[in-house]
């Protein structure tokens, strides 16, 4: 595996402490070693790209950072504190957002529901105590987010994700990550299905 660090922005470099660092990450699937002792540091504002051949272990490394996969050994530290993700929900609670290669969207559910899947907004008051969802708030925010990103001019936020094109689905996944990713946004092949213009937006 090859890792290439692309430092962007002025206040970036070895002078500051890394936000996220990994030491000696190992993951084996039976006889196959997907990750063999991976180390890296991620500094504030830095964009770190992971490059490698097919089967090099890029997705495994990413899953180890997002809690979707638990490494066999090695440590991940966030702002100097060692963290262990037992599930993707743990990573999300830390402000880690991921755009998965498989997009991780529920095709039969609508766009707004997908954006808020796992952290739905409840209504205020009694209905909220009864766990009733505030669908309008979610739809409004979802629309604002998609408009703000300018990724796709999706106007009907209530249509099921399966009725979207591949690029639009990816746009939904990217919008979700951008919306909630406070600490770190991890993207696994984020532009694989996007058109030229959307790719530029994502890279911005």
């Amino acid at each position: 595996m090859i890792t290439a660090s692309d430092t962007a922005g002025p206040a970036v470099g070895p002078d500051t402490d890394p936000v996220l660092s990994a030491r000696g990450l190992v993951k084996r699937y039976g006889n196959v070693t997907a990750i063999r002792g991976s180390d890296f540091d991620l500094f504030p504002g830095e964009v770190l790209a992971i490059v490698g051949d097919n089967g090099a272990g890029k997705s495994s490394l990413i899953k180890a950072l997002t809690g979707a996969l638990i490494p066999d050994s090695g440590t991940i530290t966030l702002n100097g504190e060692e963290i262990r993700f037992g599930s993707p929900a743990d990573a999300r609670n830390r402000g880690f957002e991921t755009v998965y290669q498989t997009l991780a969207v529920a095709p039969a559910l609508d766009i707004a529901t997908n954006l808020f899947l796992g952290r739905e907004i409840r209504r205020r008051g009694l209905l909220g105590r009864l766990h009733i969802l505030d669908r309008n708030a979610m739809r409004t925010q979802a629309k604002e987010q998609l408009d703000a990103l300018g990724i796709a001019t999706i106007q009907d936020i209530t249509q099921p994700v399966e009725s979207l094109s591949g690029g639009q689905r990816q746009a939904v996944a990217v919008a979700r990550a951008a919306m909630f990713g406070k600490m770190l946004v991890i993207m696994d092949e984020p532009t694989a299905a996007l058109g030229v213009r959307e790719t530029e937006h994502v890279l911005d």
Binding site: S87, P88, A89, T98, T102, L103, A108, L109
Partner: protein, 429 residues
């Protein structure tokens, strides 16, 4: 703003030889100006033709909304298929010779295709089927169209309807529960025995309902913790519960003590004339609560997401195992209520009752438009599905048709419902 002529020019420059028709497309009853359908390969009226759909962008750009093929020219003016395809198509914008790609999905391209409407509202098809069946039997017999008969039909669906109601969220997670009726029958025996043995009936009833929830929870734990297929787990639970029920009851029926346990069989007249039982009311309340839980809460959305794609659901931070186990617990509690409703219908706890209840409930769910592959459908369809089966049985009986033909009709309907589901899935993806 580009005009039809400039569009024609553009097309000719790209090598299209004919522009047979330029027309506006109507979407949801509104005419969308600036959306043009251009047809080529005009030689044969009955051959499928390739159609390119163009949409004018706000700056006079020509948006090409994808190529599609139509069965026949005659279908062009409405272009339902075309409109549907546009909704998901990548569009290409030609801007001063520089070709850029833009994903565009305007509200003008909202699908109005009947297939999409049916796919988005899985209960719609079954509702139409139910209305047709009611109309048919009302014409074919003198006895069917009658409020007493309707009430009897609804009353007949209460137990299977409640079992199907519990089954629905499980099937929405792409699971299945073959043990539901066996659990409910065990519930009737347990409650009857407890109350006959001297326990106050509210406590006996509560214990029975909780026990049903606990038994279904065991299925859920086996599915999530040991990762066994729900079909096998519940097939095993079916055999186990049938055996336990027979051992516990001594293989004989037990009279249900009168009072709270038989209270749901109480007849009343709604608005002075519509006969109904309390059991029908309780079934309706259960349906309403389950509907709200599935449609209006995060829990319900997660049930759908898990049925759609469990891996994606996990990636979005949903605790798939906890949600799945909770689905089985909810189902089990509903089976417990089904037991209560059953005791109201027949005041005898029979270990051999409802032996086909599991399959009948699956039939109701599937006919109601819920997909066996998970993620699609809901309890509204399940009510309709249960009613369709009951209406068919009642209507065919009143027409004097042998019960074997009733089973045949139900079987055909199940296969038709699953085939329809497969078809809509393929069209949507």
């Amino acid at each position: 703003m580009a005009t039809a002529e400039s569009l024609a020019h553009e097309l000719r420059s790209r090598g299209w030889n004919t522009i047979a028709s330029l027309l506006n497309v109507t979407v949801e009853g509104r005419e969308i100006s600036g959306t043009w359908v251009c047809e080529i390969d005009d030689d044969n009226q009955h051959q499928p033709v390739d159609v390119n759909v163009y949409h004018y962008g706000p700056n006079g750009h020509v948006w090409q909304a994808g190529t599609t093929t139509h069965e026949a020219r005659a279908s062009l003016p409405k272009t339902p298929l075309g409109v549907r395809r546009i909704a998901g198509a990548e569009t290409h914008c030609r801007d001063g010779g520089m070709a850029t790609t833009q994903t565009r999905l305007g509200d003008s391209l909202k699908p109005n295709n009947a297939g999409v409407v049916f796919a988005r509202n899985p209960a719609l098809g079954p509702t139409v089927a139910l209305l047709i069946a009611i109309a048919f039997f009302s014409i074919a017999t003198n006895t069917f169209f009658n409020i007493d008969n309707f009430s009897a039909v609804v009353n007949q669906t209460t137990v299977i309807g409640a079992l199907a109601l519990g089954q629905t969220p499980i099937i929405l997670t792409a699971g299945i529960d073959l043990a539901n009726a066996a659990i409910a029958v065990f519930g009737t025996i347990l409650i009857t025995q407890l109350v006959s043995g001297g326990l106050p009936s509210p406590i006996g009833l509560a214990v029975g309902i909780v026990a049903c929830g606990a038994i279904a929870m065991v299925s859920g734990l086996l599915v999530t913790q040991l990762r066994l297929p729900p079909f096998i787990v519940t097939l095993g639970m079916l055999a186990v519960m049938t055996a336990v029920t027979n051992l516990y009851s001594g293989g004989t029926t037990h009279p249900v003590p009168e009072g709270l346990l038989t209270w749901l069989g109480t007849q009343t007249y709604l608005f002075g004339g519509i006969p109904m039982t309390y059991g029908m009311g309780v079934t309706a309340i259960l349906f309403a609560i389950t509907w709200a839980a599935l449609a209006k809460t995060a829990w319900g959305r997660h049930v759908y997401a898990i049925g759609d794609d469990p891996e994606s659901a996990r990636f979005t931070g949903i605790n798939v195992r906890v949600n799945l186990v909770s689905v089985y617990i909810v189902a089990g509690i509903i089976y417990g209520f089904a037991a209560w409703i059953a005791m109201g219908r027949t005041p005898t706890a029979d270990p051999n009752a409802y032996q086909t209840g599991n399959l009948d409930s699956i039939t109701a769910v599937v006919i109601g438009g819920t997909s066996l592959f998970g993620g699609r459908g809901g309890v509204a369809g399940t009510i309709i599905g249960a009613l369709i089966v009951a209406v068919l049985r009642s209507g065919l009986t009143q027409m004097g048709i042998d019960s074997n033909y009733q089973n045949l009709a139900t079987g055909v309907l199940v296969i038709a419902a699953v085939a329809f589901d497969q078809l809509t899935r393929r069209r949507m993806s």
